[in-house]
């Protein structure tokens, strides 16, 4: 059977079951049926209750993700090819890798305020690590034969970097970007739940504490949709950029 058909079938089955449970008379107050959520979702879109928060959230997560992953990829690639940078950076990065970066939120808040900047810094910090590690190993696993061959053909060091090392590291770089993207959403909602005056994490908290379960579910659905959509976008970009890889493995 086609996996896509099974996937959609399962989704329909789960939603149907949920609908049945949520429309029974004895269901708890905080369980809403999928149909109700859809109705509230449309209403929240029209009333303008939702979109400003989506915008506020994206304005925090996207700069953080772009900043952190760009620095991570660049430094990771460079550390993968330059020994002195490798010795300086890698021990610190690998040592602090398993440390939960969210614990630095309070101190960053103290230094640069409780506004958007501290959230962006924390998201960038968290996104840095997977990108650095993956770009580092991607650059280090460049086939030597290719480097030797290009040097032999008279390529300069910068050319070897740009034409050999970077392309051969790209598949791992994309793997790192995908992890960072997922992390950026987790960090975004946690920082917004911890303290914010706008954004989806704030909306979820506010809806929860004012017992507006409709708004709570609407924001959760929006979070899920944003996470899913951005992941799909990244996969699309990877298919574009790595078209040669798909062609060679086919």
């Amino acid at each position: 059977m086609n996996p896509r058909v099974i996937g959609w079938g399962l989704l329909a089955a789960v939603l149907g079951l949920w609908q049945l449970v949520a429309t029974r008379p004895e269901h708890p107050e905080f369980v809403l049926s999928p149909v109700e959520i859809a109705v509230h979702f449309a209403a929240a879109l029209r009333s303008g209750e939702l979109l400003p928060h989506v915008g506020a959230s994206l304005l925090r997560s996207l700069p953080g993700f772009v900043l952190g992953s760009a620095i991570g990829v660049i430094l990771g690639l460079l550390a993968g090819v330059a020994r002195s940078l490798d010795q300086m950076l890698s021990p610190v990065v690998f040592l602090t890798y398993p440390v939960p970066k969210i614990v630095f939120l309070p101190i960053v808040m103290l230094w640069i305020g409780i506004g958007d900047a501290s959230k962006i810094v924390i998201i960038a910090l968290a996104c840095f690590y997977p990108c650095f590690v993956n770009a580092y190993y991607g650059a280090r696993s460049t086939p030597r034969i290719m480097v030797w061959a290009s040097l032999n053909m008279g390529a300069r060091r910068s050319q070897v970097f740009g034409k050999i090392v970077v392309p051969s590291a790209l598949p791992l770089v994309f793997a790192g970007l995908r992890v960072s993207l997922a992390l950026s959403f987790i960090l975004l909602f946690s920082t917004e739940m911890i303290n914010a005056r706008s954004g989806l994490g704030f909306l979820i908290r506010q809806a929860e504490s004012s017992l507006r379960f409709d708004l709570m579910y609407v924001s959760i659905v929006t979070v899920a949709a944003l996470g899913y959509a951005s992941d799909q976008l990244l996969l699309l970009a990877r298919r574009r950029v790595l078209a040669w890889q798909a062609a060679t493995t086919r």
Partner: protein, 259 residues
């Protein structure tokens, strides 16, 4: 020879030493109040206080207990699901769309619902840890049990091993390097989720200690708690590597963070 060795060690430590020196210089310069940049000595004193007071050990235990129980649950369920998905086409056809479809969705958004379902105590946090840890473990175990050498499976079946025996004695050991790769991804995630949930809503645990110290302007204690959390994350990772090297002794760890 020795000279280059010394230079190498110095270069490895250079960033850490430079960071600590800059920190201490800034703290002593009097440019900022000790609340914003407390000196290393103050942080050390608070670290000593945390290490010796029984109350803070309870916080450490709370966080550890939540993180490890969620992780343990996820590892049992995740390995089982991953192996079943890897060895049964029917199970894979039904389960893999669920996992690949919900993989990029941030599970942390479900936390408010979990609070309503399981209360504000440990259970909601453990369930969230379980859910976040489940995905990497299932994905790597699935990949590992699909990559088992067929000759091993055939010879086990040929020697009369039952299906269950093949799963337990051939598939799981053969997939062990992959399974441990999943564990190594999931364990830091477990600690991250515990700390986040404790920062958002809790009355105990290390995440709570961080937020409480911040709210009472005890920045030195907050930073000491941050150090404790960092050391805990590091120690757990080292323990996992040691366990892996014990159990998967036939394969050298040659992937991430090998150093």
């Amino acid at each position: 020879m020795t000279r280059s060795l010394v230079m190498g060690v110095l270069r490895r430590l250079s960033l850490v030493l430079a960071g600590l020196t800059v920190w201490e210089l800034v703290a002593r310069s009097g440019m900022f109040s000790p609340i914003i940049v407390p000196s290393l000595a103050r942080i050390g004193r608070e670290l000593w206080f945390l290490a010796t007071s029984p109350g803070s050990l309870v916080e450490v235990w709370q966080s550890l207990f939540r993180g490890l129980s969620g992780f343990a649950l996820a590892s049992v369920v995740g390995v089982t699901l991953g192996v079943v998905m890897g060895r049964s086409a029917v199970a894979a056809a039904f389960l893999s769309p669920i996992f690949s479809g919900t993989y990029p969705i941030p599970k942390i958004a479900l936390f408010p619902i979990f609070i309503y379902l399981f209360g504000i105590g440990s259970l909601a946090k453990v369930v969230l840890v379980f859910l976040e840890c489940l995905y990497p473990i299932v994905v790597t175990t699935h990949a590992g049990s699909r990559a088992v050498n067929r000759v091993l499976l055939w010879s086990a079946a040929n020697m009369g091993a039952s299906r269950g025996r093949i799963l337990a004695r051939v598939v799981v050991p053969a997939a062990a390097p992959f399974i441990f790769a999943g564990f190594r991804i999931a364990l830091p995630i477990a600690m991250v989720v515990v700390i986040i949930t404790e920062m958002i809503s809790s009355a105990d645990g290390l995440g709570y200690l961080v937020m409480y110290s911040l709210a009472s302007f005890k920045t030195d204690r907050m930073l000491a708690a941050v150090v404790v959390i960092s050391l805990l994350g590091l120690a757990l990772d080292r323990l996992m590597v040691a366990l892996r090297d014990r159990l998967v002794f036939w394969e050298r760890l040659d992937s991430y963070y090998a150093e």
